[in-house]
């Protein structure tokens, strides 16, 4: 790239500004990893809980939620590696990260004290999950994720209307629609952009 002045037109200057700004915004698409990871973890936990309750006498079916621990560890390792690799920090990256950390803290009491509410955490968690999912969709300007956020809200309400056991099935479908489908679409979009 040349450093000399006056050898390019105002239109070329504007084009250059636009290209550089677009390049700086690229890495938010890496978010697909988290949606796919957590999508599968929560989907398996929901189906595991349903299967264990319905078909076995296993006394601790909620133990399947321990799958969240390795998912958290992977999230933290991947997140810190990505942060180091990115070479830049944008305000939107920061907002997005803190929004999901706040979300994690807001659902934590429901997970810790799930026994006190009969392990029926799905309705509350799904409704709360709709907020950061929808907002990440807005930040990324990615409609499937916005729809995913809306679907979490709808499935959360549906959970209040079905039996506690069927809530796990609704939870599994909700995660499929809210995280996995948008997550894979986001991943495809990123691969096409690379």
């Amino acid at each position: 790239m040349s450093t000399e002045t006056n050898d390019f037109s105002p239109q070329q200057s504007l084009d250059l500004i636009q290209t550089m700004i677009r390049q700086a915004q690229g890495n938010l698409l890496n978010n697909s990893f988290y949606f796919i990871l957590w999508g599968w973890a929560i989907l398996l936990a929901n189906l595991g809980m349903y299967g264990l309750y319905k078909f076995t006498d296993f006394p601790y079916p909620y133990a399947v939620w321990l799958i969240a621990i390795p998912a958290w560890i992977i999230t933290m390792i991947y997140g810190s590696k990505q942060g180091r690799k990115a070479g830049k920090k944008t305000h939107l990256d920061k907002i997005n990260m803190w929004m999901w950390i706040s979300y994690g803290f807001s659902i934590l009491p429901f997970i810790i004290f799930m026994q006190n509410i009969g392990f029926n955490v799905n309705p509350v968690v799904l409704v709360i999950t709709s907020v950061p999912t929808f907002l990440t969709g807005i930040i990324l300007r990615f409609r499937p994720l916005m729809m995913g956020g809306i679907s979490f809200y709808a499935f959360g309400i549906l959970c209040f209307l079905v039996s506690p056991l069927n809530q796990y099935l609704v939870g599994a479908v909700a995660i499929g629609c809210g995280y996995l489908i948008p997550g894979y679409l986001l991943k495809n979009m990123r691969e096409k952009n690379v």
């Binding site: 450093t3 006056n6 105002p10 500004i17 700004i21 070479g87």
Partner: protein
């Protein structure tokens, strides 16, 4: 009467650096190098010019054992960039 284009910004590499920094909070030297495709030496010189003008703030630290140079736009840089874009608009709309 057309505004004059700021000569410090009306240079491809310096404008590219400023445009990159406008859309981030801060960026590492290696990131700017990758995105602009400039050589380390040339980039270093242009960053120094922008820094001397007070348009960007350069912070030197360490990432592990490796030196790390991070750049961020200052308020002065932000307003210079806005003026430059406004001046550009005048030229394009004439």
């Amino acid at each position: 009467m057309f505004k004059e284009l700021d000569p410090l910004l009306h240079s491809q590499l310096r404008l590219a650096i400023m445009s990159l920094l406008m859309s981030v909070d801060s960026a590492e030297f290696t990131f700017i190098k990758e995105q602009t495709g400039a050589t380390a030496g040339n980039l270093s010189v242009q960053i120094d010019k922008l820094s001397e003008a007070g348009y960007i703030e350069v912070t030197k630290s360490f990432k592990g054992k490796k030196p790390l140079t991070t750049c961020a736009v200052t308020k002065k840089g932000l307003s210079a960039f806005e003026n430059y874009v406004n001046a550009l608009k005048q030229y394009i709309n004439k």
